[in-house]
Symmetry: C3
Subunit: 159 residues, 3 copies
């Protein structure tokens, strides 16, 4: 397969703005016919969390850490000018005014476009997150799997 | 064209240090004869803002957001150790002592080297920035244009 | 040489989590037989600093700046949820519980796997860091050297 038919990205950051940039690029590429793989690591896993609190069996410290991290797309903050939640509200309002999709809609679009979303299992361990806390339809893999996919693609971004 | 004759980068962050890293790589590549495209999105757009305040027609919230963002290369902060503006001053002094160009000079050099600087139109909407607020000589495009260029280049960075 | 036999990364950030992500990818790729080059710039140089304080000859401002930056892998902070040092402790505990190597161990592994670690000389000037403050076994080079290596590799990440 031609390398231009594929694109991979590692989504490391869990900020609203970076998550949006990731999905804008990913869905844009998929719409152009590319096969896209998004590999979520570290804070990027928060983008995949379900909205509702999940009772997963975990240790005290894992629970504490998990509770302090944002639960899903609606709760993400901005990397800049977050201003205690005011920044994301302003940005969402401006997105709506200009007919830009919400992050939730972009994620749904990514699913419809068959974008492969992979959660990094080692990061899940480090962040204390369990499969049942993440949205359905994900794949689970490690760094070797990412590297094999990157070999097949011309454009490989770390976001 | 050989893919090694091209390089693209997405400049997402608007911090002084990351902007400097972007332009050091971009001008270095152009000096080696590569055709370079810099695609500015989100906070990266602040690097391209004119120094002087511009009276653009915009809504109240866009105006508020815009006023809080740094206006051009001279106003950018550091991603670390910003220390209320002291960090950038110290770094600029150390750059001067070691004959490293200022960011302003690097941007001028990028223009002279025919580096293509593209402002992401969707990000401009989301950040409430208008064309008249950005420096002259830019191109304006969306994600599809970026992806087409990335296909032609071996090295594609997200900064 | 086939481009898939090589991988390069620029390590710009000096946060514990990003440093870990860098070394997980780099050692993973080297274990698969790839020739890996890590190019450390700006805050990423802090990952390479020796633990002990070094008396290098430098100007007052360089000294001040250097003292405020973390000295080596053990002192790095998190990019998120740092919580005055509590965050890194919690993350290190969770890594230990899941048998994930420490950053120090990963760096040693990188050396054993012959990963080429390069310190960016221009960044060293800008950050006021001297060779004797960085770990042994590094190479020293500039952006032209990085770009030449990136041309030979399929996957080139900016972290």
């Amino acid at each position: 397969m031609d390398k231009n038919e594929r694109l991979t990205m590692i989504v490391f950051d869990g900020d609203l703005d970076k998550a949006m940039a990731s999905f804008i690029i990913a869905t844009g590429a998929a719409a152009m016919g590319k096969q896209v793989t998004m590999f979520f690591t570290f804070w990027g896993l928060n983008v995949l969390r379900k909205d509702e609190p999940i009772q997963a069996k975990k240790k005290f410290m894992e629970k504490m850490f998990e509770r302090m991290m944002p639960r899903g797309p609606k709760k993400l903050q901005l990397s800049n000018m977050n201003m205690a939640g005011m920044g994301p509200k302003v940005m969402k309002k401006m997105m709506k005014d200009h007919n830009v999709s919400t992050l939730d809609e972009m994620i749904d679009m990514a699913e419809e476009l068959d974008i492969k979303m992979v959660a990094c299992t080692m990061s899940m361990d480090v962040m204390g997150l369990k499969q049942e806390e993440l949205r359905d339809g994900l794949e689970y893999a490690g760094v070797a799997s990412y590297l094999a996919e990157a070999d097949e693609a011309n454009t490989n971004l770390f976001i």
